[in-house]
C-alpha cells in the first residue's frame, strides 16, 4: 500500500457545546482526488480549517508527508505544501488579478525587506520567473485577459478561479478546495472540473475537494469521505459510497424524511 500523504487521526473540534468535528480519522493517498461530502453543518469546512492550520484541534493528530501539522500555523502548513482555498473566495480586491497571483509565489528573496536594497538583481530575476509562471496559470484558469483588472471587479465564479490559480502559484503538493463550484456559472464550473482533473494528470497534485453535487463527486473523485455531524461515517470508492446504507440515510434522512431522522437521532 502506498503511504498516506495526509493522515487525520482522532481529531475533534468543539465550539461551545457543538462538536463540529468529532473523533474523525481518515487518510489521503498521494496523487488522488478525494471528495469530502456530507450534509450542511457536517463539519467539512471545520475539517479543512483544522488541516490547514486555521484552527487548532482539541485533540487528535494530523500528519502531512509524515510530519505533524496539527496546531501548526496556517502559513507553515502552506509552506509545507498543503494549500487551501476558501468556501467564499478570498481575493485581494484592491490588487490586480496578476498581483494576487504574484503575491503567492514561494522563495521570493524580495519578501525580505533588506534584500530589495542589497540584492535587487536577485529579486528581479526571481520576479520575472514568478511573473511568467503567473501568466501561465492565469491562462489555465482563463483569467489572463483580466490580469491588470482589480480583483474586486471579478464575478464570484471568477474569484473562485483566481483563488485556485493563486493556490497553484504556491506549487502545492496537496490542495484543499472548499466547494469550488458553488456560485460558479455552469460553463465556468465545467472548466473548473477540467482544471481539477488536469491538476492531477499534469502536475501529479493531490486534491481534496468539498462538493455537494453528487454527479460531480461521482465523476471526478477516486475516493469519497463522508461526514455527518462531525464524524466520518464512510470512506471508499465512489460507487461503493453511493450504495452505502449510512450515507443514503445521512442524505435522504435529512432531505426526504426530515421528521423521521429527527426522531431517530439523539439530540
Amino acid at each position: 500500500m502506498t503511504p498516506l500523504l495526509l493522515e487525520v487521526d482522532g481529531v475533534s473540534k468543539h465550539f461551545g457545546g457543538v462538536a463540529a468535528v468529532d473523533d474523525a480519522s481518515f487518510g489521503v493517498t498521494e496523487g488522488v482526488i478525494t471528495a469530502l461530502i456530507g450534509p450542511n453543518g457536517a463539519g467539512k469546512t471545520t475539517m479543512f480549517n483544522l488541516i490547514s492550520g486555521f484552527m487548532r484541534p482539541d485533540c487528535g493528530t494530523i500528519r502531512f508527508a509524515g510530519r505533524r501539522i496539527d496546531g501548526a500555523r496556517g502559513d507553515v502548513v502552506a509552506r509545507a505544501g498543503l494549500v487551501r482555498a476558501f468556501q467564499t473566495a478570498r481575493v485581494l480586491t484592491r490588487m490586480s488579478v496578476l498581483e494576487n497571483m504574484l503575491l503567492a509565489a514561494k522563495d521570493q528573496p524580495g519578501e525580505r525587506l533588506g534584500m530589495n536594497l542589497i540584492a535587487p538583481r536577485r529579486v528581479a530575476r526571481r520576479e520575472s520567473e514568478v511573473h511568467a509562471r503567473a501568466l501561465e496559470l492565469l491562462d489555465l484558469v482563463r483569467l489572463r485577459h483580466l490580469a491588470d483588472d482589480y480583483a474586486g471587479t471579478l464575478s464570484g465564479g471568477q474569484r473562485k478561479l483566481l483563488e485556485l490559480g493563486r493556490a497553484l502559484m504556491v506549487a502545492p503538493r496537496m490542495i484543499l478546495l472548499d466547494e469550488p463550484m458553488a456560485g460558479v456559472a455552469p460553463v465556468l464550473a465545467q472548466q473548473l472540473l477540467d482544471h481539477i482533473q488536469q491538476l492531477r494528470q499534469r502536475h501529479g497534485a493531490t486534491v481534496c475537494v468539498i462538493e455537494h453535487d453528487m454527479d460531480v463527486v461521482m465523476s471526478i473523485s477516486d475516493r469519497v469521505i463522508v461526514m455527518d455531524e462531525g464524524r466520518v461515517i464512510a470512506e471508499g470508492p465512489p460507487d461503493a459510497i453511493q450504495r452505502d446504507e449510512r450515507v443514503i440515510e445521512a442524505y435522504l434522512g435529512r432531505q426526504g424524511h426530515a421528521d423521521e431522522s429527527q426522531r431517530g437521532r439523539p439530540a
Binding site: G110, E127, A167
Partner: protein
C-alpha cells in the same frame, strides 16, 4: 507678523517636511499594511526624549543619542505590537492609543528623568537650563557656510534646515516607492486587504506586520528628532494625540494610498495650518486673538470636511480604487 515674512515660511517649509516624514511612517503602517496606529506621536516623543536625556544627562554625542532614540522607538513598537498584532486590528488601535498617552503621562510625571511638565529645559533639574541641540546648531552653521559659498547671502540656518529636511523627504519617498513595489510591499498590501488569504499562501503575516510597525516607528522617531532639533526645546504638551491625527489628515489630503501624495498633503496641511494665522484682517480683527485661535482650528476642520466631501480620494488618489469593496 507680516504675511510675506520669508523666515516664517522657511520655518513652515521645514516643519512641513518633518510632518511628511512623520506621515510617511504612518503610511507604511496604515496605508501599506492596514495597521491602525492611533498613537504614532508616541514614537516621535520617545525618540526626542531618549535623545535629549542622553545628550543632556549622560553627555552622549548627538549622533549616538539619535540612534538610541530610534532604537527606543523600535522597542516601543515591539512592546505595542507583539501582544496585539496576532489579534484583530482593533487591538492594535487600542494598544497604540494607550501607548501614546502612557508615554506622554510618563514624560509628565517622571520629572527626575524627563524634566516633567516643563519639558526638556528642566532636564537638569530646577535652576538650570538644559539644552540638547548645541551640536546640531554647530553642524547647521557649518552647512550654512558651505551653502553660502553656493547661493551667497541668501543662505541662513533655517534655509539649510529646510533644504536638508526636504532632501531627506525626497530620498525617503524614492526609497519607499521602491519598497512599496517590491515583493515585500506586495505582501503588506495583501495583508491590508485580507490577512487570511495571505496566510493561506504561506506568508507569516505576524512577522510582516511587526516589520511594518517597526519601520513606521523608525520614521516617526526620525521626525521627532528633527522637530526637537529644529525647535530646540519640547515638553510633554508637544506630543498631544492631535499630532497623530495631523498625520492622518496629511494622508487623507494627499490621497490615502499614494506615496507622492504625502509631501503634497504635508505642504497643504502646513499651509492651511500656518496660513490661517493670518486671518487677522477686518472684520475678523474685531475678535480677540484668543477666540481667533479657536476660529482658526475651526476653519482648518471645516476646510478639511469640505475637501473630503468634494474629493474623497484626496488630491492624488484614485477614486475607482476607493469604491471597490474589501
Amino acid at each position: 507678523m507680516d504675511f510675506l515674512n520669508l523666515a516664517f515660511w522657511t520655518f513652515v517649509a521645514s516643519t512641513a517636511g518633518i510632518y511628511a516624514i512623520f506621515a510617511l511612517g504612518l503610511y507604511v503602517q496604515f496605508s501599506m499594511a492596514g495597521l491602525p496606529n492611533f498613537g504614532h506621536v508616541a514614537f516621535m516623543a520617545i525618540g526626542a526624549y531618549t535623545m535629549a536625556i542622553l545628550v543632556v544627562r549622560y553627555s552622549v554625542s548627538l549622533p549616538v543619542a539619535s540612534m538610541a532614540g530610534i532604537a527606543a522607538a523600535i522597542v516601543l513598537a515591539l512592546i505595542l505590537g507583539i501582544p496585539s498584532l496576532r489579534l484583530r486590528a482593533d487591538y492594535l488601535a487600542i494598544a497604540t492609543v494607550a501607548g501614546g498617552e502612557i508615554v506622554r503621562y510618563l514624560a509628565m510625571n517622571l520629572p527626575d528623568l524627563t524634566g516633567g511638565p516643563i519639558g526638556s529645559i528642566g532636564l537638569l533639574g530646577p535652576g538650570q537650563i538644559a539644552l540638547y541641540n548645541g551640536g546640531w546648531q554647530r553642524s547647521l552653521d557649518e552647512l550654512t557656510t558651505a551653502l553660502s559659498a553656493v547661493i551667497g547671502a541668501a543662505a541662513n540656518r533655517d534655509l539649510t534646515m529646510a533644504l536638508m529636511v526636504w532632501s531627506i523627504v525626497l530620498v525617503l519617498i524614492v526609497l519607499f516607492r521602491r519598497l512599496e513595489r517590491s515583493p515585500w510591499g506586495r505582501v503588506l498590501k495583501g495583508i491590508r486587504e485580507d490577512e487570511m488569504a495571505v496566510t493561506a499562501v504561506g506568508k507569516n503575516v505576524f512577522a510582516f506586520k511587526l516589520q511594518a510597525l517597526m519601520l513606521g516607528a523608525v520614521l516617526g522617531a526620525a521626525a521627532g528628532l528633527l522637530l526637537a532639533l529644529q525647535i530646540g526645546v519640547f515638553s510633554p504638551d508637544d506630543y498631544q494625540p492631535t499630532l497623530t491625527f495631523y498625520a492622518y489628515l496629511i494622508l487623507i489630503l494627499g490621497g490615502m494610498n499614494r506615496l507622492w501624495a504625502i509631501p503634497v498633503g504635508a505642504v497643504v496641511f502646513s499651509l492651511l495650518y500656518a496660513g490661517t494665522r493670518f486671518l487677522n484682517f477686518f472684520p475678523l480683527s474685531l475678535i480677540d486673538s484668543g477666540s481667533r485661535a479657536f476660529l482658526r482650528l475651526f476653519l482648518v476642520g471645516f476646510l478639511l470636511v469640505l475637501f473630503m466631501a468634494v474629493r474623497p480620494q484626496g488630491m492624488l488618489g484614485n477614486r475607482r480604487e476607493l469604491l471597490l469593496e474589501k
